[in-house]
């Protein structure tokens, strides 16, 4: 223990600058924390982001597509590639959102207690949610942009309107991320994630009009597709990417996605407070 080691003087003297008062923008350092963590692992994740559209376009769009087009002349006169890729675009946002809203959130609550560390400072529950969800939105946006870029190289989209599908896809992802945040805060372990994955996310992926129009579903199943966010994202994306969008329909889908995000936000605030402020 050398005597020359300096000691900070944390006691502010009356002449020192006043302590910064907590401002309304404290979600930003929360976002900054997640970005710093991401910088350590970005390479692997970006690689996966490029691989996923490649696999889907090759297998579903081109592989299965050639079969569908040959035997049925596409879907309603549209080549299967153009039909299926906008749907998968919405579905991949759901997958990314799910990936970002489960283990990392539970870890911050239970394992590394990142949230507790934040809550000991002026940061509050709303800052934690806003900062972390903004980071998730960044991830979904990045993945979606890469997906659109790669899929476009294969001629998957019929129109430049697909650029509008980008924000709608991000909203679709967030319409999953926000309610899943709320759900994760109620979990003790990762067992619930398996149920979520098997009984909600996977069926939605298969039956929300991603691979075939929901008219093909038995009539009693269609309302399920209508209430879940994925179908709204799929339908809006497809309408835009095919080039002659039904703009009123797209607006309706957007409004519904925003509604789900808002309800999810209220739920998340409730479950996060219940879990972290005891």
């Amino acid at each position: 223990m050398s005597a020359s080691v300096s000691t900070p003087n944390p006691q502010p003297t009356p002449t020192s600058t006043p302590q910064p008062t907590p401002g309304p923008a404290l979600w930003r350092p929360v976002f900054g924390c997640w970005v710093t963590v991401y910088k350590r692992t970005w390479l692997g994740s970006v690689f996966g982001r490029f691989l996923s559209p490649l696999l889907f376009v090759l297998s579903m769009g081109l592989g299965l597509g050639s079969l569908v087009d040959k035997s049925a002349g596409g879907v309603g006169g549209v080549p299967y590639l153009h039909f299926v890729v906008p749907g998968i675009l919405a579905a991949q946002a759901m997958w990314v959102a799910m990936g970002e809203s489960t283990y990392q959130v539970l870890g911050a609550i239970r394992w590394n207690m990142k949230y507790q560390a934040m809550l000991a400072t002026p940061i509050g529950i709303d800052d934690i949610l806003l900062g972390h969800l903004t980071y998730v939105a960044m991830q979904v946006t990045g993945a979606t942009a890469i997906f659109v870029g790669v899929a476009a190289l294969f001629g998957s989209f019929g129109s430049w309107w697909v650029l509008l599908a980008l924000p709608i896809t991000v909203l679709t992802g967030m319409a999953f991320a926000v309610p899943i945040f709320a759900f994760t805060a109620t979990q003790e372990g990762d067992g619930g994630f398996n149920i979520l994955f098997r009984f909600i996310i996977t069926p939605l992926f298969l039956f929300s009009g991603t691979f075939f129009p929901i008219d093909q579903l038995p009539a009693f199943l269609r309302p399920i597709a209508w209430v879940t966010p994925l179908w709204h994202g799929v339908d809006a994306n497809r309408s835009l990417a095919l080039g002659s969008p039904d703009l009123v329909g797209v607006l309706g889908h957007t409004a519904y996605l925003l509604f789900v995000i808002a309800i999810g936000g209220l739920l998340a605030r409730h479950t996060f407070t219940k879990r972290l402020v005891v």
Binding site: P8, N9, P10, P20, P22, P29, N112, A120, I123, G124
Partner: protein
């Protein structure tokens, strides 16, 4: 209502915390002045950590009144937390990030600018003796280093009160002394320390004043020395016998010293003069396997007040 700039930094009256039917903190009163070093001593489960979480404005108060800097945590939580430094019982560091990244990120939570955070971090790395580890990941660091980093992190906002929950639990003696040394420096610089511990030596080393807690209640308070004077004698004679049951030896030495405490593994004779008590035992022809005279400690105070030792 107290003036926010007064020297009374922390005041609790009838402070209570319940979880369902369980009462963790049962109506306690205490106050801490600026510059003081104040401790909560008690065994695990006494309600120390629950008290600290309420004081840290992360756990809502169930009952009673709590004021920090004259403000109510229920209405001014973020404002109060901006003036506190918190060292939680369990480190909440970002293990996959570097030492300096941990400091930078945490400083930003207080709304400090990037440049301010960087200059303060350099200063604190020096204080925590972690300069040469600044760019290492946290995960492989030793327990003592992580603890010093947690303390450095808690100082980045230049807090007026530093809350330490079991600061040295689980550390080896060398690491504990290194940590105490850092805390002494802060204390000398006028930082108000509020800490919990179940180590009596830590309480004696660090606290100007402390309260002894048991089952959610405060059972005694004062300076370490005054508590010993009030609740114990100057010296203690410890006797061990080659037997499974020390109780019947208690009868044999009854009347020697002021008080006798029978523990499973030894007898404690409380006396002003321990050597004289040992001589009296010898005179009765009693042959203990070992006998030791020592000064009274807070452990004896605790034993006297609760009938139990601190670390079971």
């Amino acid at each position: 209502m107290t003036d926010p700039d007064s020297d009374l930094l922390l005041q609790a009256t009838g402070l209570t915390k319940t979880f369902g039917n369980f009462t963790a903190v049962d109506g306690i009163d205490f106050a801490v002045q600026r510059g003081e070093s104040f401790g909560f001593l008690g065994p695990n489960g006494a309600g120390k950590s629950s008290t600290m979480k309420m004081v840290g404005c992360v756990s809502p108060v169930t009952g009673g009144v709590l004021r920090l800097f004259g403000q109510d945590p229920a209405t001014h939580g973020p404002q109060i937390r901006a003036r506190l430094g918190v060292v939680p019982q369990k480190d909440t560091l970002d293990e996959e990030l570097t030492v300096q990244e941990n400091l930078w990120i945490y400083g930003r939570y207080f709304g400090l600018s990037r440049s301010e955070v960087r200059s303060r971090a350099t200063e604190l790395l020096d204080f925590a003796q972690l300069e040469d580890r600044a760019r290492s990941k946290v995960e492989p660091l030793s327990g003592g280093m992580k603890r010093r980093l947690t303390i450095a992190r808690s100082l980045i906002s230049r807090p007026e009160i530093l809350l330490l929950d079991e600061p040295t639990a689980g550390l080896d003696p060398q690491a504990r002394h290194a940590l105490w040394d850092r805390l002494f420096r802060l204390k000398r610089n006028g930082v108000t320390l509020v800490l919990t511990t179940h180590y009596m030596d830590e309480a004696e080393q660090l606290c100007d004043r402390l309260v002894v807690m048991d089952h959610g209640k405060i059972v005694a308070q004062g300076s370490p020395r005054s508590l010993i004077t009030e609740f114990s004698t100057r010296e203690v004679l410890e006797l061990r016998f080659d037997t499974d049951d020390h109780a019947h030896h208690g009868d044999a030495i009854a009347g020697i010293g002021e008080r006798i405490e029978v523990l499973p593994d030894r007898l404690l004779v409380y006396a002003e003069d321990g050597d004289a008590a040992a001589a009296a035992v010898h005179l009765r022809g009693i042959q203990p396997m070992s006998s030791l005279v020592r000064r009274s400690t807070l452990e004896d105070v605790f034993l006297h007040l609760t009938g139990r030792t601190l670390v079971d």
